[in-house]
């Protein structure tokens, strides 16, 4: 088990290192010159050269990459070019906001998704199953900016129940800000919810047809105990993987959703950084997102192994 976890961890570290190279390389080929951006189009060539030297941009790429990654690991993420402030507190502030939004979404879609999937599987081929399955299929295909607009139209404009803008003033407590979180959270959750419903349904349908569920039933166990002791443990295994991959989707969804709702999270920060060609900020934000993605995958793998003895002992 320990060996398994260590190996997985090794893979995650490798993934992150590779991603950091890709991020670094990608930001290098972005059009536009940083010095020109900072000093303006009419700055003298000498001033630009000085600035490049000051920022270390005249060094070989490998050296730049090395010092960037080294500093990043040590917690020195440098300064943002556009805001002229330190990157780390800025990113963490936004990350905290995003984490709250993601957590609300997560707490909504994981249980709801599993329950809906189970209901569909247990009532297979009934009208409830049809409704849930068709509904979830529709949501998979719906991009966030469309579902966000639909939700705003219904719940903010027509019904007036919830605010359509989610900008939260610093200092407001999360409790008072909670209504502002509901619509963006639902928007972010919908796609992942649909995947979880479908995965839970199909794996539960499979497990319900296995011989060991027949064994459990013919032991004389009441249906709820068959479900909780024998079915769930096996049928939720694939769902766990989807939940972890869903964290990645969540990150992608945040960028769009936060922009639509004007919510100050990490997604909007990344968008802001890209628009301003703020290379250090892009690098730091992107790498942080990769890190979160990697860690959540690692957790999924380990959890999967803990729950599935066939993997654990191989």
């Amino acid at each position: 088990m320990l060996r398994f976890a260590t190996r997985r961890l090794g893979f995650v570290v490798l993934t992150i290192v590779l991603s950091s190279m890709i991020i670094f390389a990608a930001t290098q080929i972005l059009p536009g010159d940083v010095a020109t951006m900072v000093l303006g189009r009419f700055a003298s060539e000498e001033a630009k050269t000085n600035l490049r030297h000051e920022l270390g941009l005249d060094r070989p790429l490998v050296v730049q990459y090395g010092s960037w990654l080294g500093n990043f690991v040590q917690g020195d993420w440098g300064d943002s070019i556009s805001t002229r402030t330190e990157i780390r507190p800025l990113v963490f502030e936004r990350l905290k906001n995003s984490a709250v939004l993601a957590a609300v979404a997560f707490l909504f879609y994981v249980p709801v998704g599993i329950v809906l999937g189970l209901i569909a599987a247990l009532r297979r081929n009934s009208w409830i199953d049809q409704t849930i399955s068709v509904g979830s299929l529709a949501f998979i295909g719906l991009p966030e900016f469309v579902s966000a607009v639909i939700l705003i139209t219904i719940f903010s404009i027509e019904l007036g129940w919830l605010p359509s803008q989610s900008a939260i003033d610093p200092g407001t407590s999360w409790v008072t800000a909670f209504p502002k979180l509901i619509l963006p959270a639902i928007t972010v959750a919908l796609t992942s919810l649909a995947y979880i419903v479908r995965m839970t349904r199909s794996s539960t349908v499979d497990v319900l047809q296995t011989d060991y569920v027949r064994t459990a039933t013919l032991k004389g166990l009441p249906p709820y105990r068959v479900l909780f002791t024998h079915v769930l443990r096996n049928s939720l295994l694939p769902t766990i993987t989807v939940v972890a991959i869903g964290v990645g989707w969540l990150m992608g969804g945040l960028i769009i959703t936060e922009s639509v709702f004007n919510y100050s999270g990490i997604g909007r920060l990344l968008l802001f950084a890209v628009q301003r060609r703020d290379v250090p900020l892009i690098q730091a934000t992107a790498l942080l997102i990769v890190l979160i993605y990697g860690v959540s995958n690692l957790i999924a793998d380990v959890l999967y192994a803990v729950l599935n003895p066939r993997i654990r002992y191989n």
């Binding site: 011989d211 060991y212 064994t215 013919l218 004389g220 024998h230 096996n234 599935n308 003895p309």
Partner: protein, 689 residues
């Protein structure tokens, strides 16, 4: 005790209502075991599961009565039924690995029954499980309870399932093909166990099987089912000695008998196939396939009427049903003499010290320093196949018999050793062999579903080797393919059908036709009949023998089923963990001296004749892994005739007997003869039959 009266069960399907079981009655007493024998689709499982009211959601009981110790099961509510399931009714299933939950410890799964029905707390339930596991002769029950199902072998798992079913000393124990998924030697051990438990526990046993041999080991009374009805019910001995229904009679004739006659005989065949449930004939359902049919049979459905003491038959002409011996004489014919490689044949294929090793899973943490153990699937095998003859290769799963065949055909290239065809060395891999060579060696696989492309018609499948290897044009190939269909007794109209429109036996006929298309010298048959029904097995064995006589093709016939192997083979090789243990002409391999492994296999084969007495030689433990082959003689860990250090430390010598007969054992042949003469394995052979 269990009384089933007039039980009928239907399934609702998209195409209509299928009457899967119709008006069926049976009775089983305490300590008695009732065998339900039938081919697939006969409704035997539906009957048993329907009787305890466990049916798929589209199935329902439409009439009759099922009483267990006087309680009418059909009147019980769901809740009352659950109180019986697992406590008064135990079930043992076909595949023990899938019958247990893969992610729950064995001990916990078994304890669940004790906690639920015996009201025990955790500790008491665990103690009870330990006791039960000890009762089913489980070595080290405590350790087994802390394992997950995938960590145990099939035989061990089936013991766990049996222990679970017997935990509450149930009134009724249903065993649904409990040994079908196990190796012969393991099957023998489990059957012994069931026979013993039958005496110890009070349960009435309903034992479902397709295997007429297994029935003789376990059952007191037997019912033969066909398309949802019983054809005949009788005591075990009477059913086998004096069957009074033509279906039973023919079924018995489909099974090869162990004999030492110097000729190969055909088996009885049953023409046609089981009728579909939605188009049952109005009269006797067996009438369309019966060789004793008269007009009266087609008029009305005959009831299952008593024809003697505890014997009933659903045949109106039961008085004229001949004895099995008469039937065998009339319905079978001698096809060829048995031949021997030493005398009659030139060698066609020689396999010379062939080894096939695979890279095993690695050990060690760091990528660069991982050590891989070799999987020695075939570990030095030498064999000869002679022209126009059949070499039978027999052994348990994991013996490497399939890998030998794949090495010969070049699908899994041998890593060492030489394979010669007509004296010329073959390239190890099929890709590097020339077309002329590829054409000479063809293969028939176990599972025709997987070996026939589902999107290609039968005609395409057979024409392909004709075009590719035979160099024929399209039209010529099509004509020849139709001829081949006829040769394997399929209607020419099958040319345009897709595999899914064919039954399992028909698919395998197509696979055989395809193998013959290239007019090969050698066909490797890898368990070609194992997944098929008894009657289909019989007709396929007849077909293989007929084609061999006509085409003078050689076969390598691989099977775990010793009775099929002895029926078809001129020469037999017994393999164990990648090595040949015994090799020789069929008759000499089947008479003492035996290699101790052959002896154990022969004693484990379920012979379909209750009068045959077999010495109970049982192998302990499991077939060793090909990654971890025991030192010295590789069979020493399980050998019932283990001598001592010599077996553990030294590879045994080849001991040569009569003709080409040789045995790989430390015990000299004359000593083996003495040991084995006392315990003559087939006490009564069916030479008189």
């Amino acid at each position: 005790m269990l009384e089933v009266e007039g039980l009928s069960i239907e399934y609702e399907t998209e195409t209509g209502i299928l009457p899967a079981v119709r008006n069926v009655s049976l009775e089983v007493r305490e300590h008695e075991s009732f065998g339900i024998v039938g081919e697939s689709g006969s409704g035997k499982s539906t009957l048993a599961m329907g009787a305890i009211r466990y049916l798929a959601s589209n199935g329902r009981v439409t009439g009759g009565s099922v009483r267990l110790n006087g309680v009418e099961l059909l009147d019980l509510s769901r809740k009352e039924l659950r109180a019986l399931w697992g406590s008064r009714i135990g079930v043992v299933y076909q595949s023990p690995l899938t019958a247990l939950n893969p992610s729950i410890l064995i001990g916990k799964q078994l304890a669940e029954v004790a906690r639920l029905h015996l009201g025990m707390d955790r500790g008491a339930a665990m103690t009870r499980v330990t006791e039960m596991l000890a009762k089913v002769a489980m070595p080290d029950p405590e350790a087994v309870m802390r394992r997950y199902p995938h960590q145990l072998s099939g035989g061990m798992l089936q013991r766990c399932v049996i222990a679970m079913a017997l935990m509450t000393n149930p009134a009724l124990l249903i065993m649904d093909e409990p040994t079908t998924a196990l190796d012969v030697t393991t099957q023998a051990v489990v059957l012994d166990l069931v026979a013993e438990l039958k005496r110890e526990f009070d349960s009435a046993i309903v034992y479902i099987t397709h295997d007429l041999g297994v029935v003789t080991k376990i059952c007191d009374r037997v019912g033969v089912m066909y398309a949802g009805e019983f054809m005949e019910q009788a005591s075990l001995r009477e059913l086998f000695q004096r069957p009074l229904h033509p279906y039973t009679l023919d079924l018995l004739g489909c099974v090869p008998h162990f004999d030492r006659s110097p000729e190969k005989r055909s088996l009885v065949t049953i023409p046609g196939s089981i009728p579909h449930l939605d188009e049952l004939p109005p009269g006797c359902i067996f009438a369309p396939r019966c060789s004793f049919v008269r007009d009266a049979c087609r008029a009305a459905r005959p009831p299952l009427d008593p024809v003697g003491e505890g014997h009933s038959s659903a045949c109106i002409r039961w008085r004229i049903v001949p004895t099995p011996a008469e039937r065998l004489g009339a319905a079978t014919e001698a096809l060829t003499e048995l031949r021997s490689c030493s005398g009659d044949g030139a060698p066609l294929v020689e396999v010379d010290d062939v080894k096939t090793y695979f890279k095993g899973p690695g050990e060690g943490f760091l990528p660069g320093r991982r050590r891989h153990r070799a999987i020695r699937a075939v570990d030095g095998v030498s064999l000869t196949v002679c022209e126009g003859q059949t070499l039978g290769v027999v052994g348990e799963s994991g013996s490497g018999k399939t890998t030998v065949a794949r090495a010969i055909v070049g699908l899994t290239p041998a890593t060492e050793g030489e394979i010669r065809l007509h004296g010329r060395k073959l390239e190890p891999a099929a890709e590097s062999r020339k077309r002329g060579v590829l054409k000479e060696i063809q293969m028939v696989f176990q599972n025709p579903d997987a070996s026939l492309n589902p999107t290609r018609t039968v005609g395409d499948a057979i024409s392909r080797p004709l075009v590719l290897l035979g160099g024929m044009g399209r039209t010529e190939a099509a004509t020849r393919a139709r001829e081949l269909l006829e040769a394997v007794s399929l209607p020419a109209g099958y040319y345009d059908r897709l595999p899914n429109e064919l039954s399992g036996g028909e698919k395998q006929r197509v696979a055989i036709a395809r193998a013959f298309a290239a007019e090969p010298d050698l066909i490797l048959c890898d368990e070609p009949i194992s997944s098929l029904d008894v009657s289909v097995q019989g007709s396929l064995m007849n077909l293989l023998m007929k084609l061999q006589v006509e085409q003078r093709t050689s076969y390598v016939f691989i099977s775990h089923d010793l009775s099929a192997v002895q029926h078809l083979s001129d020469t037999i090789a017994v393999v164990y963990v990648g090595r040949v243990m015994e090799l020789g002409d069929a008759v000499t391999v089947l008479t003492p001296p035996f290699h101790p492994y052959t002896e154990a296999l022969l004693s484990a084969v379920p012979v379909a004749d209750p009068d045959v007495k077999q010495t109970p030689i049982r192998l302990r433990g499991n077939v060793p892994s090909a990654m971890d082959i025991p030192s010295g003689c590789r069979f020493h860990t399980r050998c019932p005739r283990f001598l001592g250090d010599i077996c553990r430390e030294h590879e045994p010598p080849w001991r040569h007997g009569e003709g080409s007969h040789r045995i790989y054992c430390h015990i000299p042949l004359d000593e083996l003869v003495q040991l084995q003469a006392e315990t003559l394995v087939l006490a009564s052979t069916t030479e008189d039959a």
